[in-house]
Symmetry: C2
Subunit: 328 residues, 2 copies
């Protein structure tokens, strides 16, 4: 067996925990440790054998880690951490604020290029795998339309909006792809659809004692921006049902490209994810791109990359000859 | 506008015609001409403006073509043509004999590496896009199973087998993915399935005058290898119905990866193609990889490549900055 790729995890929430578990499924990778801003003794890892260090300890690991997987949030953690750590390590992140990708890429590229490291940003599934499918779709079928549908998936922001309504004791909200919109796209209609026409919203709400169900339903379905523009369904459930049936973090969705290659000849490409756990899946994608990042760094590449820049074969532990024989 | 990529087509059957049409949808590509083994005056191209040359005339085009798209068959054309032409041009093919990929790759790589050209083999959808999805699936979900289903699609070999039965005046055969098998996979059962358990066969047959329908149906469903092992349905139709309803070459299928990221947490990735025209779609993939091949050659790369070795961004006419801003 060749030498294993040595991986560090920065940040230990749902994503960091998913990365820890995923590394255990990949025998060519070795987890050096978790690096946290919290006091290491307070961090409970999934595996008892996982070592936890203060983030400042990273200074001692420059020669002991091949790639760092950054598991912070896109809002405030990654815009600072990715450039800063790319100046010292090869890194991978799942930065997912679509509108700020160019800015993030520029900052990370400057740091990685001058340090001679590799930094792969915006891995995960959207951005990430969905982005790749949008690219393949329009490159192969230049005359056509691309549709991205999200769901059925838990939306944290919309769940929080429900919980802020007086009289609501607990709630979750799922975003659903609209079945009627999907049917129109699959039928090759190439409809013009806004994001809100493509999605429905389903709410599961626990009422406080004495709360008025009808008034709360009305407050929900008329809430501007969040629910009013959508086809919104509200279900009232018990606290026990909420805990039992809605503790997971499912997500997923579709990317569909529908196009014509000649007059009346329709071709459809559809990419679908159905995920029991959004963070565990994102973690798995991060881990595969960490392998690619370490390999790119070993060949002397430097600078920032996105999934668009990475040859797919680099994601697999198999050799190019194995891949050609087994998977092509 | 930057200079266009100059493309030549070698071979003019369904695939060559599809490539000709596809180049017309890609403004960054320019069709130099079709090169055929037939007498050029006998070749009827889709566009009257397309120039047709004898294949021997390629000798005069070394400096006038950036990439050749090879549209011959995998059985006898490409094993000879791809290495031979890779010694003189940057080339792309859709070699699709899975079992012979390693051998073909080695021959093409030797020719391209010594000539300093780029040769991309086995583009198309299977091998090609389906292969990429098999690779992504197992790299991201190492603990799981991959299933490839083909269809609903016209099978040339099985249609030919029907036409050889005495009393059959005309026939087509479609391969269908088995609905029950798909349901088991989607449900996360991870069943062990052979290719034949995953597929059904549907035959549309025109009888010769006086032929015995029951005897022919029996001859079909008991034909070893071709039909006997499958759930096979036979429909008898008229010559008019055959011509009207079965002249197209639809195909498609699914690649499904189903795996667990932790105990009981199931994640499913599904990639689906629904194609009105198999050759036109394959042509569209060839054209996108021709763009990538010309770009790789321009950066000084040499040797044989497969879709596994090609960064997806190279397939798109957009710049890396555009791709990050618009599609990531």
């Amino acid at each position: 067996m060749t030498e294993r790729i040595r991986v560090g995890i920065v940040g230990y929430g749902n994503l960091g925990r998913g990365v820890e578990t995923s590394i255990g499924l990949n025998p060519d990778l070795e987890l050096v440790g978790v690096f946290s801003r919290r006091d290491p003794v307070t961090v409970q890892t999934a595996a008892a054998s996982t070592q936890v260090f203060a983030i400042a300890a990273l200074a001692d690991f420059t020669d002991k880690i091949d790639v760092l997987i950054l598991c912070g949030g896109s809002k405030s953690d990654l815009p600072e951490q990715t450039p800063e750590l790319a100046a010292r390590f090869t890194v991978v992140d799942s930065f997912d604020t679509h509108a700020k990708v160019p800015e993030h890429f520029a900052a990370v590229d400057a740091a990685a290029a001058s340090a001679g490291t590799v930094a792969v940003i915006s891995t995960g599934w959207d951005p990430g795998l969905f982005s790749l499918n949008r690219l393949f779709g329009e490159a192969i079928l230049p005359q056509g339309n691309t549709y991205t549908f999200w769901g059925r998936g838990l939306s944290q922001g919309h769940s929080d909006a429900l919980r802020r309504i007086p009289g609501v004791a607990g709630a979750v909200q799922y975003t659903l792809p609209s079945e009627s919109a999907i049917e129109r796209v699959r039928a090759g209609e190439n409809p013009a659809l806004t994001t809100r026409e493509q999605h429905d919203r389903e709410c599961f709400v626990v009422l406080e004692d004495g709360a008025d169900a009808d008034a709360i339903r009305e407050a929900i379905v008329t809430m501007p921006d969040y629910f009013e523009p959508y086809d919104t369904t509200v279900h009232f459930i018990t606290a026990e049902e909420l805990a039992r049936d809605h503790a997971g973090m499912p997500h997923g969705g579709f990317v569909i490209r529908s196009g014509e290659t000649s007059e009346g000849v329709n071709q459809t490409i559809e990419y679908r994810l159905a995920l029991d756990s959004n963070p565990e899946f994102t973690s798995s994608v991060l881990v595969a791109y960490a392998r690619a990042a370490a390999r790119l760094a070993a060949t002397g590449a430097t600078g920032a990359f996105t999934p668009f820049d990475i040859a797919p074969g680099l994601l697999s532990p198999k050799t190019p000859a194995q891949l050609r024989a087994e998977l092509l």
